[in-house]
Every structure is written in C-alpha cells, then in structure tokens.
Amino acid sequence: MIIPHFTLNDFLPVMPVGVLMAAAIVLMLSEVFLTSTTRTYQAIIAALASIVAGGIAVNNAFEPARLVLQGYAVLDPFSSWTTAMVCLGTFLAVLLSAGFLKHRNAERGEFYALMLFAAAGMSLLSLSAEFITLFINLEVLSVATYALTAFLRRGPRPSEAGFKYFILGAFAAALLLYGAALIYGATGATKLVEVSAALPAAFAKSPALVYAGLGLVLAGFAFKVAAVPFHMWTPDVYEGAPTPVTALMSAGVKAAAFVAMVRTFLFLVKGIDPVIPFTVFSLLALLTMVGGNLLALPQRNVKRMLAYSSIAHAGYMLLGVAALFAPKLVEAGAKVGVLTATPLTGTAQDVSVAVYKGLLFYILGYTVTSLGAFGTISALERREDETRGNTWDLERFAGLAQRKPGWAAAMALFMLSLGGVPPTVGFLGKLFLFSAAVDAGLLGLAIVGVLSSVIGVYFYLRVVVYMFMRPAPIDAPAPFRHWTTELALVTSAVLVVGLGILPGTITEWFSRVGMVFGH
C-alpha cells in the first residue's frame, strides 16, 4: 500500500478553505451553545474569516503554478485570485445579511455557516483538477446555496425558489457527472492531466463517446453559470432567494463555476478540432449576451431585471472564454489543453494573458457591483410588501433621490457600472474583455457584445430615471439602517469607483504569465 506523502506545500491552496470551514463550525456551535439575544457578533466572525481567508488566497496568488495533493488540485494564480474574489463577495454578502436578517428577526448562526460553507465550496471548485473532486466541491457549494435560497421559509416564493433550484441543480449536477463518467469510459482517467494525455487516442477510437461526454460536462457548467439556453431557473431563483444570498449567487457561484469551466475545458479539448470548442463557446456567448439583455428589457421588477442582467454578464464572460479558444491563438502555437512547461511566446502570449486579465478583472468588477446593487435593493425592501408582490417594483425607487440622496447616488453608481459607463469598474472590465477578444480575432462577437450592452444601458438607466426624476409615492419605504449594511455598500461603492479609476496594480497582478496551470 502506498501512503501518500504530503508536505505543508500541498495544503497551501486549501488553507483559505480551512479558515472558512473552521469559522463555519464555530458559528454553528455558537448558535446552540451561546444564547445571546444580539447576534451581530456572528456576522462579524464570518466577515473576519472571509478577510483572513481572502488574505491567504492573495498571498497564494504569487506562488508559481503547480499541481498539488497528488494531482487532485492545482495551485495557480487563476484559482487563488478566484478564491480571493469569492472571499471578498462573501465578506460583503455577510455584512449585507446582518442588517437584512435583523430586520426580519431571522438572524441565525446557521445562515452565516451556510454562507461560509458555500464560499468554501466555491474556492475548492476553482482549484479542482480531478472529476470526482470537482463534482463533490460543486455539491458542497450547491447544497449550501439550496438551503440558503429557502432560508426564509415564510411565503410561497422562497419555497418555490428553493425547490426549483434544488431539482434543476441536481439534474445539472447529474448531467456533469454523467459526462465525466463517459469521459472516464473513453480515457480511463479522472485526473484532468491524465485525461488530457489520453484524450487524443480516445478521440481517434470513439469520437461519439468523447463528444457526448464533453457536451454533458458543458451542459452541467452552463447551468451553474446561467448561460442561455440553460438559464430558465435564474430569474425565479434569484427573485425568491433572500437578497444577500442572491448577491452571493450572482457573484461568487458564477465566478467559481466559470473558473472551473475554463480549467476543465482547457484540459479537455486536446485532440479535438479546435474549431469545435471555439464555435460552441462563441454560440453560447452570443445567445447569452443577446438573450440576457433582451429578456431584462421588459422587466419592471428591479430584482428580476438584475437576475436577467446577471445572465447578460455571464454572456460577456463567455465571450472571454471563447477568446481563449480562438483559432488565432490556437494556430499561433497555443497548445490548448496541453501541459507545457514553456508558455506561449510572442503575440499569442500577450493575447492569452490579456484574455485572462480581462476575465478576472470582469469577475472582480461584477462581484463588487452586483453585491452593491443587490445590497441597495435588500436595504429598501420591506417584509410587509412581500405579500403584495410589488416589493421590487420600479415605483418603489421613485423619488429616492429626494428622500435619501446618498442611497440613490450609490444605486445610480452601481447601475452605471453594470451598464459599463466610465469611470466605473464595469466600464474598465468591458474595455479589457472586449479589447482582448478583438485581439484574439473575435471582432464580430465583440461588436455584438458592445451593441447588446447598449440595450443594457436602457434598463439600467431607467432605474436611475425613476430615482431622480419621478416624484416619490406617499408610502415609499425608507431604507432600514444597520451599520453593517452601510459598511458593505460604502465598500462596494469605493471599490467600484476606485478600481474604475486606478486599476493599476490589480491589472498588473492579473496579467502575469503562467496564470493558469498547464496553459
């Protein structure tokens, strides 16, 4: 029997996860053993754990890319930065939850514990390099979010959302597992590195099996990132879930699923005509960008509009993914999916680095903006309104600028960032991503992206128009005040503007060579 020999080095990438898990366990025990009436301390513990975990992840991001834990996981800047962004998203979502739950008299340690478990799942998903590990981490993340979605049990909406998410999510996970099983059948391996090495032979022998496996794996990921046509669950689930949970889902879950998808497919396309993955991802990007924006257009419900908008943003990120598989990059000697010690050279290297930078910066920008936008909504909604069904109607935002100018300004800022207007982080994210896509030769898709984001500006600015140019209704709600909510919103707003004006150091960190292991 071979006993695995691990050094401390192997555990470096999972250290942030260890911190998150330990804090989650402490929170669960605190819920049953401490019977204090105020529970803000639970939010503070969770927020501190996210900061510590994020700090470790940032530190890990400067380690050279390598396989750890016997090839079951990778330690590379791509996954470390994702972990750091997930921790940032969790930090903000936890702060938003403190005020949100207090207002509903539903503060529980389990809520924060579930959020931290979900964050741990997201971090692990981004560094999985083996199919079974990938699947288990996907489930850790999913089961925690299913429970969070239905956390406020009262009323039909959370139950509907939780049930829909659970049934469809379980189905998508099963598709992914089935795809992995077919690929295992074709190659006899589950570790991505070994699968990649065995794929050309397997593809030559039984192409149908490999195609079926790849298609099923892609469908599983496309569900998690809410790409059109796998997006049907998104609006109902995002609307029914508690708003801070929606924020975490739109930012963290999506980021982790994207990174896992990119990593898996960089390994899985070896031996296949490179035109096929490029075409598939381009088609997904096209449908998702256009579909998400068009579907958001008629929405008067702001929360539902933001749900469709998150689909559209997934489309822009898919544009970046498609750029990674662009024929120009592949022809230039970018051996997609090949484990090479020597990185790409020349322009191909510049382009691929620019695409990774664009993707990561876009995810970062979307994380802070989406947390801010959903956070503002969460502070404005009233439990009493939920039965009337107009909690998130545009009318609720009418005249907010006269009543609460600070809140209206923050919401306007987040809307402009989602629409991609300078000087916000949303603009820079789109700039980096679209210009990288153009460099990779995706001019047509980039034009479609820009045009569809112009559609987006219409429905984002409509919220701003309602806030600043419509008179307030008599029974308009005032935002509830809680220092954690305000701290979270101020942090988001500062990051949206700060990163939009001074992205300098961050973009340098994001554009180092050797970002992704094996590529």
Binding site: I3, P4, I25, V32
Partner: protein, 122 residues
C-alpha cells in the same frame, strides 16, 4: 468486432427477453382474459382488512430528521471499516485523517443534540 462489451452479450439477450415478456404477457392477458368486474374485485385489497383512511397521510417531521441523522452517522461507519482493516498499514497518517473526520462528526453530533433534534417528545 471484438469490443470490451462482448462478454456482456448474454446480458443484453436477457434484457431484451425481459422487455419482450414484460410487454407481451399483460398484452395477451388483456386481449384473451375474460372480464367480469365485481365490487369486491374493484377494492384496493381483495384480502385482509378493509382499507381505512387515506394513503396520503402526513408523517411527523421527526421521523425524517432521525432518518437523515442516521444516514449521516452511518456513513461514518462505512468509512471507519476500511480504515480499521488497514489500521497498521495506514499508520499515523491514517489515524490523523480519521481523527479529523471523526471529530467533525462529533461536532455535528453536539450541534444536533443541543439543537434538540434528538428529543423525541418535544
């Protein structure tokens, strides 16, 4: 052509036969059999007690909780057995791994106990 699935050919024949039988027997019985419906025959059970109440009764949620908890701690035993069999070979590494695993479950037990999930009466 020699494929890795060749040894399973008899299985495929059995599956096919089973499928044919499953369709054919009820079909033939339905076509040929005499039909005479009586009140006694149309009841849910022909023998035994007369059925009472609805089949769609509600169960107390505590049955469900106990079943879930049983599965959680049963899985622990599933992992403990192979470790116990290879205890010497796995040495301190195995011991440490299992200690972490088991202590997580102890924490979970403390949580459900204190939460009152094990109280049958309340």
């Amino acid at each position: 052509m020699e494929s890795p699935l060749t040894p399973y050919l008899p299985m495929a024949v059995v599956l096919l036969l089973a499928g044919v039988m499953a369709i054919a027997i009820p079909l033939i019985a339905g076509l040929l059999g005499p039909k005479s419906m009586t009140t006694a025959k149309s009841e849910a059970f022909e023998g035994g007690n007369a059925p009472m109440g609805s089949a769609r009764q509600r169960f107390a949620v505590k049955f469900y909780v106990v079943a879930i908890l049983f599965i959680v701690f049963d899985v622990e035993a599933v992992f403990l057995y192979p470790w116990a069999v290879n205890f010497r070979a796995l040495g301190w590494f195995g011991y440490g791994t299992m200690a972490v695993f088991a202590s997580t479950l102890v924490v979970a037990l403390a949580y459900v106990w204190k939460k009152g999930a094990l109280d049958w009466e309340s």
